[in-house]
Structure formats: C-alpha cells, structure tokens
C-alpha cells in the first residue's frame, strides 16, 4: 500500500465507521512477512473485527475463519468488559490467543498492571507490548503470530471446501463472496456449488485483500480471499454456507454458523407508502452484507405496510436505519425498539411476540416472560455503590463480584434486556465518570410482571406507539412519554389530546394545542413564484410527516421513548 493510500482507520471503509470512529464490519486483509534471516515469506490473513456488543456476531464469524486471535488491550484502560466478551468467544472457537497491550506510548500507560489483569481473567502467555501509533513492537507481534499460531491444516489437492464468512454486492461483478478455503483449491474459471444454497456458478474472478481487491489465479487450502461468479441474486450466497467444486464435490460441508439471535425488534416503514418496494430491496441488499439482520413484512393500522426487523442491539438498529436512509435515499419511520416477549396464553399455548401491538388481551395471558442478560461491568472500586444503585433501579439481580486488581472490579448482574436497551450505558458512564465498561450476553427468558402501555392520539390508539413495560414503571413511563410526545408533535390545525393508557385506563394526558396562525406575508413586485415556492416547501414538509388518522407525526415521534430521561 502506498503512503498516499494509507489513511487512519484504513480498514474502516464505510463512511459511517469513519464518522463515528467505530468498526461495524469485519474487514479482511492479507500481508506477507519475511523474517530476518529466513528466505520464504509467511502469508498472513488478518481480519479486523468490531468491538461493540451489537456486532459480536460479526466477530464470531470471523473467529470461525481463523486459527488464532490477537486480544488487544489498551495499556491505560486495561481489561474492559468487551475484552472479556471477545476473549470468551475466541476460547469457544479453540483459538490460540496472543495478548497484545497497545498504546504503551501514552503517559498513563501501565503495561505491568494490565498484564496482571490479563492473567487474572485467565489469559495465558506473555503479552506483546506495542504502540500501533508509533509502530513499536509490530515485528514482535508478527513473530508471535508465526511462533504461537499454528499454520492452517488442509490439502490443496482435496475436494474444495470453503467457508463463506461475508459477502457484498458489487454493481459490476455481482455478489463478491468472502471465503476461507479449508480444503482444496478455488481457481478462476472453476464451476462451484453452494452446498446448502444449491446454486452452481462459474468463477470469474478470484482474489485477495491487500486490502483493496487484488485478483490472483487461485486460493488454496488455508487462504482467505474472495471470488465473483456473476451472481445477481443476493440470496444465493448465505454466510456460513460451504462452497465446493461442482465436478468433484466434498462429501460434507463445513460447520456453519449458528444463526444470529436478534434481540431487539423495531418496525421499519417508508414515510411515503409508495416506497415499500424500494425499502424491501434495500433490506435485502443490506442483509447480504449483514447476516444478523432479519425482517418480515408487517402491517400497522397507523403506518400501513412495512417490516418488523430484528437487530442485535440498538447500535445495530441505528446503523441499519442510517444506511437505508443514506445509501438508498429512503425516508424511514422507525418504531421504538422493543424486546421479544414470550407469552403463555390460556390453554398453555406459548407464543413469541416481537411487536407490542400484537400482545394478546391481558385477560387471556397466563404468564409473560422477557429476555434477561448476563451483564459484566468493570469499574474502579469506588464506583461499586453507584453501579449497584443503577442495576437495582433497572430490576437487576446481583450475581458476582471479582477484583481484577486492588482498584478495579468486575461486577456481574442479571438484568432484563429491556432495561439496558435504551440509556443504561449512558447512565452507567455518567455515574462512573466514564470509567465503566459494559458488555452482556443473552442469558434466559424469565417471568416478569409486564403490561402494554398504549398511546392515544385524538382518542385513537396508535398501534405503532405501544410499548411493553414493567407494571411498576408503567405510570411514570406513560407520563414521561406523553410529555415528550407533546414536545415532538408540531401544532396541528386542531387540538390533539395525547393520552397514555394501560388496558383502556388512561393514566396520563397532555394536549398539543392547535396552531394559531400560519400565513404568507406581503407580495412584493408581483413575485408570485416566491410565494408558490413557499407553499411547495410547506407541502414537502408535510410529506415528510406521517399522517396517522388526522394527525401529522414527525419521524422522531415514533422514537419518543428513546428520548426520555432516566426513569
């Protein structure tokens, strides 16, 4: 790579990643390394993975394509909750782990303390000390990879078995399929078959990531790269599927991936109902690149035709929403995210409800269960009290506490996912002056005393605004919600009562007062065009709103619950 091409965050290619300074997509890259005194270079395939809990699935898929993992820890921050989450993932895949302590150039760096913490959480092996910024210790890392990570097994002469770990759509080449070849050879012009998908295609281009796509003649067992085969339909290539040769197929497919478990659900609707087809297309294209995104059509009385989509978490939802708006130019209404609850109805039948509006009537419900997570929180010990207060307030159940060193402690709680979904991490950070790190994994469904909170506009329930909340918090939540909606809904021609109700009983009410005055001013020098443009602009503004009954709602109104303060 030339110096000109080298930019900070070079592997974060999405505009969104650069803007937010995060990694959303795993990114593969190949490099060759010649050790001093040795003749043959080593070829290494590296995958840069995201850290945020929402993208765990992305990490997990990448790990399945690897022999080893570099566990990178910040020399001044030390072990964080996400370090642990990723460590456990790597251990699950039986990977060789090389601990790396980065940013040793910082004045606040404490490599010895961090090394001790790593030992405390069960990471064996001498940590490699580096400063990626100054280029310190890079050769040591590369040597550690050569020495400590086993070379890939596999025979280039065997029948082809290649694991699809990612894919994306290219307007010229069709679907680009990212693979790790486990056995055999994937060569240009070969005919290949998807073992689960069943489709057969002729390979047109094979290549590696340097990190730009670079064509090669073939990929052999142990190599990571991509191929294109004029595949137009994104559904042909499923992440986790095995690619084999059409003429000499492998007997078995590689172990695939557990399908991602969506945790958070939200309705996605086009503001303009004519755009339903385009929204569907956008979701299908995104799904190709984002195996964790699931969706199915749904209909809302208020919003018309749209989709109920499942996400790994709120950040994932936000990313999908932003990509649809930016990359496909669609205006979206996103309903407030919720968890899926399990309902046992009279007669013992169980159903999973991922849309609050579809919750059966209270009378027919025997029991309601909601998802709980195991949350790990790492904080300096002086904040233990603050963390406990917050967890308590969010219906948390204390589990365990471990000192990582005399000053830092790992606290684990069982918490309802619905309680940590919105602002838990923000609250945690503000109560610990930003020192806390936080991660969670799904634990189990457990019974909770939940009710549906409905919102009425002009006396009519708006299905897209219903939420499921704990009974004890329902009143406060209802009051806060109507107050927020009053702020977010612009004045209309008529007064609009905004009410919150539980099971038909109104618990809070506010009123959006009627608009008083909206007129065009004088007309100067016969300039009618200017007036007309004003009216046209006014109409455009209205079109960006969603008419629900006789009320025009802005996009933000549907996300009002996310904008409430701590409850």
């Amino acid at each position: 790579m030339s110096a000109r091409e080298m930019t900070p965050q070079v592997l974060d290619q999405m505009q969104l990643e650069r803007e937010r300074g995060i990694t959303i997509k795993a990114q593969a890259v190949r490099l060759s390394y010649r050790r001093p005194g040795e003749r043959e270079p080593y070829v290494m395939n590296l995958i840069d993975t995201p850290g945020h809990v929402d993208f765990t699935y992305e990490v997990s898929r990448s790990l399945a394509a690897c022999e080893g993992a570099l566990l990178v820890v910040d020399a001044s921050q030390g072990v964080e909750a996400q370090t642990l989450a990723n460590l456990y993932l790597a251990l699950e895949h039986d990977l060789a782990i090389i601990p790396v302590i980065n940013k040793i150039d910082l004045p606040s760096a404490e490599p010895e303390r961090v090394a001790a913490e790593l030992l405390e959480v069960g990471v064996e092996g001498e940590p490699v000390l580096v400063s990626a910024k100054l280029g310190l210790g890079i050769d040591t890392v590369l040597d550690a990879i050569v020495d400590r990570i086993p070379p890939p097994a596999g025979d280039a002469a065997s029948p082809l078995q290649a694991l699809i770990f990612d894919s994306r759509f290219d307007a010229y080449k069709g679907v680009l399929v990212y693979v790790r070849v486990a056995e055999g050879t994937l060569a240009q012009a070969a005919r290949i078959r998807f073992m689960q998908g069943g489709g057969e295609f002729q390979v047109q281009e094979v290549g590696v990531f340097r990190p730009a796509l670079t064509p090669v003649t073939d990929l052999q067992a142990g190599e990571v790269g991509y191929f294109a085969a004029a595949i137009r339909d994104v559904r042909e290539t499923r992440v986790g599927d095995t690619v084999t040769g059409a003429e000499r197929p492998a007997a078995t497919s590689l172990p695939g991936y557990r399908p991602a478990q969506p945790m958070v659900f939200s309705g996605l609707y086009p503001v303009d109902s004519q755009e339903y087809g385009r929204l569907k297309e956008a979701l299908e294209k995104l799904q190709l690149n984002d195996a964790a995104l699931v969706f199915e059509p749904e209909t809302s009385e208020a919003l018309g035709f749209g989709f109920r989509a499942g996400f790994l978490g709120l950040l994932h939802l936000e990313v999908v929403q932003e990509r649809i708006e930016r990359e496909y130019g669609l205006a979206l209404i996103t309903t407030a995210p919720n968890v899926a609850v399990r309902v046992r109805v009279a007669g013992g039948r169980e159903l999973s409800v991922d849309n609050p509006a579809r919750l059966p009537p209270a009378g027919s419900i025997e029991a309601l269960e909601e998802p709980f997570v195991n949350a790990s929180i790492i904080v300096p010990s002086e904040y233990i009290g603050a963390v406990m207060d917050l967890a308590q307030d969010r219906r948390g159940e204390y589990r365990d506490m471990t000192y990582l060193d005399p000053k830092r402690v790992l606290i684990t709680y069982r918490l309802p996912l619905s309680e940590i979904m919105y602002d838990f991490f923000d609250q945690l950070k503000s109560r610990t002056r930003g020192y806390a790190s936080f991660d969670y994994t799904f634990d189990t469904y457990r019974e909770s005393d939940l009710v549906r909170l409905d919102i009425l506009l002009n006396g009519e329930v708006v299905d897209a605004l219903s939420v499921i909340v704990h009974r004890q918090k329902a009143e406060a939540r209802g009051r806060a919600l109507v107050e927020k909606l009053k702020e977010l809904i612009p004045r209309q021609l008529f007064e609009v009562p905004v009410q919150a109700a539980i099971g038909g009983r109104v618990i809070a009410r506010e009123t959006v007062r009627a608009m008083r005055k909206d007129v065009l001013a004088k007309c100067y020098g016969g300039d009618i065009t200017r007036k007309r443009k004003l009216l046209e602009k006014q109409r455009e503004g209205k079109r960006r709103m969603k008419s629900v009954g006789s009320v025009e709602l802005p996009q933000e109104a549907f996300m009002a619950i996310l904008k409430l303060g701590p409850s």
Binding site: L493, V519, K522, R532, Q538, R539
Partner: protein
C-alpha cells in the same frame, strides 16, 4: 375585474434595512440613477404593453421617493403614450419617511401620482433602529401631513410585526399611532426571515430572537382589531382599507390579472407566461444599453397551473374568488377541478362557499399556509 397593471421597480436606497433581501442598490449618485431611469424607459419601449386599459401604475422599491418628480413624470408619460390608461387609474408611489418634502410631494402629484404608500414600519425608535431604518416616527407623521397638503387623498401606511425585540405593546402602540394618522389603507405584515439578510444572520447566531408563535399570533390579532375598530377593514391577509380604498394594484395580483414589471428584479405576467428580470444594477443597465430585454428567466404556466394559482392567490382575499370568474376563465367549474379538496376542507370548516364565492373561513384564514398547498397542481390530483 378587467384591466392590467404596470409595476416599476426603483431600487435606490441610502441604507439597507436589516430584514431586506429585495433587489436594491445603495447609492446617492444622481448620474447612476439617471442612467437607470433611461434604462426603465427603454425596457418599457421593448415590452408588449398589452391591450390595456392600465388600471394601476405602481412605483415600488427600493426607495422610489428618492427619485426626482421629473423622472416619475417621464415614466408615467411614456406609459400613457403607448397604452390606454383608465381615467381613474391608481398611481402609487412608495415613500420612506425623511425622503420627501412639500416640493417633491407636490411634484409627484403633478406627475400623476394619486396614492402614496409610506413605509413607517414601527412607531418605536428602538425597533426602527434595530431594523436599520434611516428615519424616526416623527418623520412619518410629517410625510403624511405633507401628502395631505399636496392633495394626495389616498395614503397607505406600512407596518411590520413579529420583529425580534418587539413586544405586544409595541405593536399595539404602532398600529394605534398609524390609525390616528387616518390613512385610507393599512398594510400590516408579519416579518419574514429571508436568506442572506443581516437579520437572519443575527438570529442564527443567537443575537436576535424571533418571537414565538403565540406572541406573533397575539400581535396579528391585536393589530387587526385596532385597524378594524378604526374603520379599516381587512380585505386580504396583510391589507386593510376604508370602503372603496382597497389597493387596485394588490387586487391585480390576487386576481391573476396581467401586469408589466419594469426594472431590476421585476416580474411580469401576461396571463400565461411569467418572467423576471436580472436583479443587479450592472446587469440590468448592460442588457438595456445593448438594446436587449433584461429578463433572467421565465415560465409558461400550464392551464392546470393557472387554475391552481387562480385559486390560491384569490383565497388570500377575505371575499375569496367568484365561481363564475373561474368558469369564465377556464371553461370548467371549480367543483370539477377542486371538488375533492373543497369537500374535505369544507367539512373541516376551513373554507366556505356562499353566494357563488369560495372563501376561507375565519379559522382557515389564520392558517392559510396549511390549506393553500392543497390547491397546488399535483396534490390536488392526488386527492381527486
């Protein structure tokens, strides 16, 4: 209503008001001004005057009262030479307080001006200063007295509400002070924050704060009450007049009548095509001195666009539009084109149809920006 209008834009000013984004030019150089008046006469000679009769000539600005009466006289004479001008035609000149004298007012009247429109804007020095107006209220009082002395019996006063820093009491005092001057006509308009103005910059930087919707609505209500109580009746969104003194020029615009616009940034409309002139002085002079029309752009309106405009312009007037006028003009009934919109707005109590006229209800009038877009071409299609 038959007849056509002539609008003459006189762009010269001594200062730029904080809210102003019109095509104006700051200069006191008499030679530059003289070149401009010549250019206006050339433009008139190049334009199709239409069949007439001309029922209104309007000198707008800028500050037309900076023009010498002789220049005004030449332009009026040039109009009269090429097209029939009605004997009772309204001839209006906009004037800023502090720019007129007994002599100039007398000169304007002799030139044919019979209506003076004085930009008073506010009675409070504090507000006038904030607006960067180059005069005070006593000069406005003097201008009205001067107009009367010169024999001009038709006077309009302009005032503005909704200005940052203005209180409800300020507006009440201003409107009260204006009606005490006994004008025939009153224009009370709400400040519009326009792009590129000093005021907009002030507001976006937080140095000036626009009044909220409720305060602005209170101001509009009180201003209208004071005007009505003084016998000045509202006939259009921003305009109030004594019986028979509604501005004929305004009416031309609202009734989709043809008009020729002369000068920088002026708009013309011939009943089908609308065109607008270049906005800069140098561009305007260059085009005319080369013998070319100074048009910057234009648009041919389709029949559907004309129908739409006829309705939304007409509905700005308190008495709305006559169904018969629409039918005469377009050969179809209002209902056949806008039936669905009319039905839904009428059910909502926002418009009414009585005695062959369609007009906004009192409530509809207050919120007309919400209603008029319904009559724009494709939204009307979508609804019908």
């Amino acid at each position: 209503m038959n007849g056509a209008g002539v609008y003459v834009h006189l762009p010269f000013c001594v200062t730029r008001c904080a809210y102003c984004d019109f095509a104006i030019h700051l200069t006191t150089d008499a030679a530059v001004q003289a070149r401009y008046y010549d250019a206006v006469l050339r433009e008139w000679a190049l334009r199709d005057p239409g069949p007439g009769p001309i029922v209104s000539i309007y000198f707008g600005g800028g500050t037309p009262s900076l023009a010498p009466p002789a220049a005004i006289a030449r332009i009026i004479a040039a109009v009269t030479e090429r097209v029939a001008v009605a004997v009772d035609a309204e001839v209006t000149l906009e004037a800023n307080p502090g720019t007129v004298s007994d002599a100039t007012l007398d000169g304007y009247r002799r030139a044919g001006v019979n209506r003076l429109s004085i930009g008073v804007q506010a009675a409070e020095s504090r507000i006038l200063q904030a607006m960067n107006r180059p005069h005070d209220f006593s000069q406005a009082v003097a201008a009205v007295a001067g107009a009367r002395a010169a024999g001009i019996d038709n006077v309009n006063l302009d005032a503005m509400y909704g200005y940052p820093g203005q209180t409800l009491t300020d507006v009440e005092r201003t409107v009260q002070a204006l009606v005490e001057l006994e004008p025939e006509h009153l224009s009370l308009y709400q400040l519009q924050l326009e792009k590129g103005t000093v005021l907009r910059r002030e507001v976006s930087r937080g140095r000036a704060v626009m009044p909220d919707e409720d305060l602005t609505a209170d101001m509009a209500e009180r201003a209208a009450q004071i005007a009505e109580a003084a016998g000045l009746h509202r006939y259009e969104v921003s305009n109030f007049a004594r019986p028979g003194r509604a501005s004929r020029h305004n009416r031309l615009y609202w009734n989709q009548a043809p008009y020729v616009g002369l000068g920088m940034g002026a708009h013309s409309f011939d009943g089908r095509r609308r065109a607008w002139n270049v906005r800069s002085l140098s561009g305007y002079l260059a085009r005319l001195e080369a013998g070319q029309l100074p048009e910057l752009g234009g648009e041919d309106l389709s029949r559907d666009e004309l129908m739409s405009e006829f309705v939304w312009l007409g509905l700005r007037q308190v008495d709305g539009i006559a169904a018969a006028d629409f039918r005469r003009r377009f050969g179809v009934t209002l209902e056949s084109r806008f039936g669905a919109v009319m039905e839904s707005l009428s059910r909502a109590g926002l418009i009414a149809a009585e005695c062959g006229r369609l007009f906004l209800s009192a409530r509809g009038f207050e919120v007309m920006n919400q209603i008029l877009p319904e009559f724009l071409p494709d939204s009307a299609e979508a609804l019908s």
